[in-house]
């Protein structure tokens, strides 16, 4: 009875809204000081972090645990950076820890058992019931890290929505008068592609002659690296360079010299609408963009020797209602027919063990400073407020 009364009394004292858990008034300076003072101690990390750093060896026993991506790998495998909020977390904690979750493990299993003689299988990561922030992009990143470790050639478009909105400097394509070039996006992508796949660029040889202009051309048999260099130096030809790269990779992946992974985040952008307009202010359809056109061909399963992993995302999409989450709604009829058949992989909110592990990870990194965060009631409050949604939990625990 007395214990109950005291709990209620403490509950009564909680009427002050400032006492609720999610307010983290942690100034960055004090956090840094805390980190400096903290002696690196490996044993408490055993509960939420695993020491297995190779994604190839991740199995069910690692489910719910975080594994660390070495920071040099980050620069080569993810040159364009990770999703912005995760990138902030990486910079804060000075390490990149991804949680091993069921959808990613499922995908890894499929990838390990792919038959490279068959056409590329398409895997689409999607979420249930309109939830956002469930971890689709980070699962994709996990898969990409695995493939990079296995020495695949990674073709990663971090966000396809960036190619269909807010583009400046549209040029009419020299190759095809009806299409439009995007020099800025194409050149930045070529730069990232080069950083990610340095070693393949000298191995793969171009199979045709490409004439850029009156003075420059790439002969047959030259390494692919030259095409990429051409695209980077002559920004006007960047989009064409991207198109050439895609074509060459597609045709040569079947030869068996390398394995190709095509990873596109927000693939519904390719079949949606754009916010770009022509000079006469008429709206542009996505197929009139050369980059989108090339990517659509890439995502078709008429090649073999690799896999295609895609993500559907409503968050950056254009002209789609917030509640849309089904593949048909997000891709539209045309897109769904183009992608059909595919294997949908459901990414949902944290299970209780995963939630516990995530909170433990934050506590170990001294990210949650509220004294109630370690108690069971505090964790229950966090669980209620975020409903076990990874994105919401991260925002709740973020600094103000």
């Amino acid at each position: 009875m007395l214990k109950r009364m005291t709990r209620l009394v403490s509950g009564a004292r909680q009427l002050d809204p400032g006492r609720f858990l999610h307010g983290e008034p942690q100034a960055p300076q004090s956090l840094a000081a805390h980190l400096d003072n903290q002696v690196p101690d490996e044993s408490p990390r055993a509960t939420s972090c695993t020491s297995e750093d190779d994604p190839a060896r991740h199995g069910e026993q690692h489910e719910g645990q975080h594994y660390r991506i070495p920071l040099q790998d980050l620069r080569t495998v993810f040159p364009h950076g990770l999703p912005p909020r995760f990138g902030m977390q990486v910079r804060t904690f000075n390490e990149a820890c991804l949680m091993v979750r069921k959808p990613a493990l499922e995908l890894l299993r499929y990838l390990k058992n792919t038959n490279f003689a068959h056409p590329a299988v398409r895997y689409v990561l999607c979420a249930l019931d309109g939830e956002t922030g469930t971890g689709k992009t980070l699962s994709l990143c996990h898969v990409i890290h695995f493939c990079a470790k296995q020495d695949w050639l990674i073709l990663h478009i971090p966000d396809a929505h960036l190619w269909v909105k807010n583009c400046r400097g549209l040029l009419q394509s020299a190759y095809n008068k009806l299409r439009f070039d995007q020099p800025v996006e194409a050149s930045s992508w070529l730069k990232d592609f080069k950083t990610a796949n340095e070693r393949f660029l000298s191995q793969i040889k171009v199979q045709e002659k490409y004439v850029w202009n009156k003075r420059e051309s790439t002969e047959k048999g030259r390494p692919l690296g030259e095409v990429v260099e051409q695209g980077l130096t002559r920004v006007k030809n960047a989009t064409d360079a991207v198109g050439i790269v895609l074509k060459e990779l597609k045709s040569q992946s079947g030869s068996g010299a390398f394995r190709l992974l095509v990873a596109v985040d927000g693939v519904n952008a390719l079949w949606g609408r754009t916010t770009l307009r022509r000079e006469d202010k008429s709206p542009m359809a996505p197929e009139e963009l050369a980059l989108v056109h090339g990517l659509r061909k890439m995502v078709r399963n008429d090649w073999h020797g690799g896999a295609i992993v895609l993500t559907l995302s409503q968050t950056g999409s254009l002209f789609k209602p917030r509640k849309a989450y089904l593949p048909q709604e997000l891709l539209g009829k045309e897109g769904f027919d183009a992608l059909d058949p595919f294997i949908p992989i459901l990414v949902s909110n944290y299970s209780p063990e995963e939630f516990e592990s995530c909170v433990q990870y934050y506590l170990e990194n001294s990210w949650l400073q509220h004294e109630k965060a370690q108690t069971q009631e505090g964790k229950k409050e966090l669980l209620f407020l975020s409903n076990a949604n990874p994105g919401q939990l991260e925002r709740l625990c973020a600094y103000l």
Partner: protein, 337 residues
């Protein structure tokens, strides 16, 4: 002179005052005359000599001091007299503002009698100073209309105030001997908490216990069904509460009743809500959920919830815009010209 600095309410003060007060009564007449003279001769700064004996022997030194009545001296004495009058009024339980000369005379008569009575009682050993406040909880004094009705005569506000003061004084004195007499003039007040309506628990087809109730806030109406055993899932209008309330503040409002009772994650809720905006919908659901939770919870916890304000409907509504003003309170910009 007279000792005006007495503290009220103690028996000792009566004696102290009486010792000086009797002499005050005698000298009163003298002062009044002096005051009248001062007021008539206000323009002149002349010393007014009263008793001009001029003898400076030791016996008459005190008398000599009294002889020079300066204007300031008289003024000071008048002030002290007024203060003393106010103290007397306080002690008698009268209103200090309207204490007239007749009241002073009456007061002295009563005080002398009271002192005699007190001496008798002290001789008998019945005098006690206990204060009883226990009888006053849960009841209130009669209001003026009720008292008029009881006594079948018209009362003025001052009479009523005087009456209540005397009754309160009576309670504090003499060990509550006249308690039943005083209680006749008090009415009981029902304790607010006993009025709390608790919903009955219902059972659905699978035998799950649940409870329904409604809540309102501004123009939002909500109806919540709280199941006794569950895992903390909440569905609003068929949609998960994380998707329906993307703002953390609204979800905190939903969390408050459960958090207060330490029952996070033990109940399932299904609710429907309509009207209002996002914040008022959250408030309406919170009220509905708290009311529904009353049926699963002990009486003390219901009382705790009521005191925390979980069970009270928020009466605030949008205030109407008035003509001549830009909004409900905001006036138009004032221009000097």
């Amino acid at each position: 002179m007279a000792a005006p600095c007495v503290s009220c309410g103690a028996a000792a003060s009566y004696r102290l005052f009486l010792g000086g007060g009797v002499s005050l009564a005698r000298r009163q007449g003298v002062w009044k005359a002096a005051a009248a003279e001062l007021q008539t001769g206000a323009g002149f700064q002349i010393l007014r000599l009263r008793h001009t004996t001029g003898v400076t022997t030791k016996k008459n030194v005190a008398a000599l001091r009294r002889e020079t009545y300066t204007v300031d001296f008289i003024k000071k004495q008048i002030e002290e007299f007024n203060i003393g009058k106010r103290h007397l009024a306080n002690m008698m339980g009268e209103d200090p503002e309207t204490f007239t000369q007749e009241d002073i005379d009456e007061a002295y008569g009563k005080l002398l009698e009271a002192e005699k009575h007190q001496n008798q009682l002290q001789a008998k050993g019945l005098f006690s100073e206990k204060t009883k406040t226990k009888n006053l909880i849960g009841s209130r004094w009669l209001i003026k209309e009720e008292l008029e009705e009881m006594l079948v005569e018209k009362l003025s506000d001052q009479d009523y105030a005087q009456f209540i003061r005397l009754l309160e004084r009576l309670l504090t004195l003499y060990g509550g001997a006249e308690e039943e007499f005083v209680q006749r003039f008090r009415r009981s007040v029902t304790i607010q908490s006993k009025k709390q309506l608790i919903e009955p628990v219902q059972y659905d087809e699978q035998g799950m216990a649940f409870s329904t109730s409604e809540g309102k806030r501004k123009s939002a109406k909500a109806e919540a069904v709280v199941y006794e055993h569950g895992s903390g899932k909440i569905k609003v209008n068929g949609i998960d509460y994380l998707l329906y309330f993307p703002v953390t503040q609204d979800r905190e409002q939903l969390m408050f009743p459960f958090c207060f009772l330490d029952r996070l994650g033990e109940h399932d809720v299904t609710c429907t809500v309509s009207g209002g905006g996002r914040s008022s919908q959250a408030g309406a659901i919170r009220l509905a959920v708290a009311r529904a939770l009353c049926s699963f919870v002990t009486k003390e916890e219901v009382e705790w919830m009521r005191q925390a304000g979980l069970l009270t409907a928020d009466p605030r509504v949008r205030e109407r815009k008035k003509p001549g003003q830009e909004g409900a309170r905001r006036k138009f910009t004032w221009k000097k010209r």
